[in-house]
Amino acid sequence: MKAAALGGLLALVAIGIVLAFSQAGDATAAERTDALAAQLRCPDCQGLSVADSQTAAAREIRRQIDELVAGGASDDEVRAHFTSRYGQWILLAPSSPLVWLVPFAVVLAGLLGLATWLIRRRAPPAVAPLPLTAEQRQRLHEEAEALDA
C-alpha cells in the first residue's frame, strides 16, 4: 500500500518534469523573449535571471534576445549565442538531462537500500537444513528403531 503511494508520487513528479520541459504550443515573440530571459543568468547580478534584473547588461541581453527572435532564431540558437560568449555559466539551469535524473536515481537507490535493510532485519535469518551424511542417516535409523523397540 505504502509502496503503491510512493510509486504514484514518483510518477507524478516524473510527469511534472516532462511537462515542464516540453514547450507548449506556439508562443508569441514576446513570450519567447520572456521565457529565454528567464533561463539566462544576469552577468552582473548575484543569482538573478536576465528577466528579473534591470541592470545595463540584463537590458542589453534582453534587447539582443528580442533582435535574435525577430530575426527568426530558434530557442537553441539564442541560447548558443550567449553560451558561445559566457559558456554554460550563463544558463541558470543545466542543459544536460543527466543532471536532473541523478538526484532521483540516488534517492531511489537509497530507498531501495533502506527497504532491503528493514526487511532483512525484521525476518529471522532462514537457515537451510544441512544435508545429513550417510553415516548420520544410518545412526538416525538405528536410534529410531531402538526407540520403537
Binding site: P43, A56, E60, T83, R85, Y86, G87, W89
Partner: protein
Amino acid sequence: MRALRWLLVPLVVLPLAWLLLSGFGRDPRELASPLIGRPAPAWTLTTLDGETLSSADLAGRPYVVNFWASWCGPCVDEHPVLAGTQADRGAELAMVGVLYQDATADAEAFLARYGDTGYPHLVDPDGRLAIDFGVTGPPETFFVDADGIVRDRQFGPLSAALMEQRLASIGVAP
C-alpha cells in the same frame, strides 16, 4: 562486511566531501572563457578622446583588452601594472581599455587621479562589447595574439607576475 563499512568512509564520503568543498570554494565565473582559441570579437567604437578605433586597426599585433570601471576597487590595484606594461612594452603590443558600465566623466576623473595609461579607452555605451567578450565584472582582461585569436583571459586584477604569464601566451616575451 564490517571491513567494507569502514572502507565506505574513505571511498565514498571523502571524495564527495572534497568535490563539494572544492566546488563551493570556487567562483564559477573563473571558468575558462569559451572565447579562448577563437577569433576575438570585432568592434568599432569611440574612445574617451572622441576618436573612432576599430579592432581592424590592431590587426597584425598582439593586443590586450582590459575591461575596467572607475567604481571598481581592484581596478585601482592593477592600474600601475597596466600603465607599466604600456610604458615598457608599448612597441611590441597594443593595449586598449574598455569602460564597463561607467560614465565617461567618472572614467576621466579616475585617469586624472591615478595617472593616464598612455593607451586609448573605448566607450561601450550599451555594454555590447562586454557581452561579446562574456565579461561578468571588472576587472577582466583578454589577451589576443597577432593572428587575432584570444589566447588567455585574466579574471580579476592583474599583478606584474600574472601579466608576464598572460603576455607569454600571445608571444610577448619577458
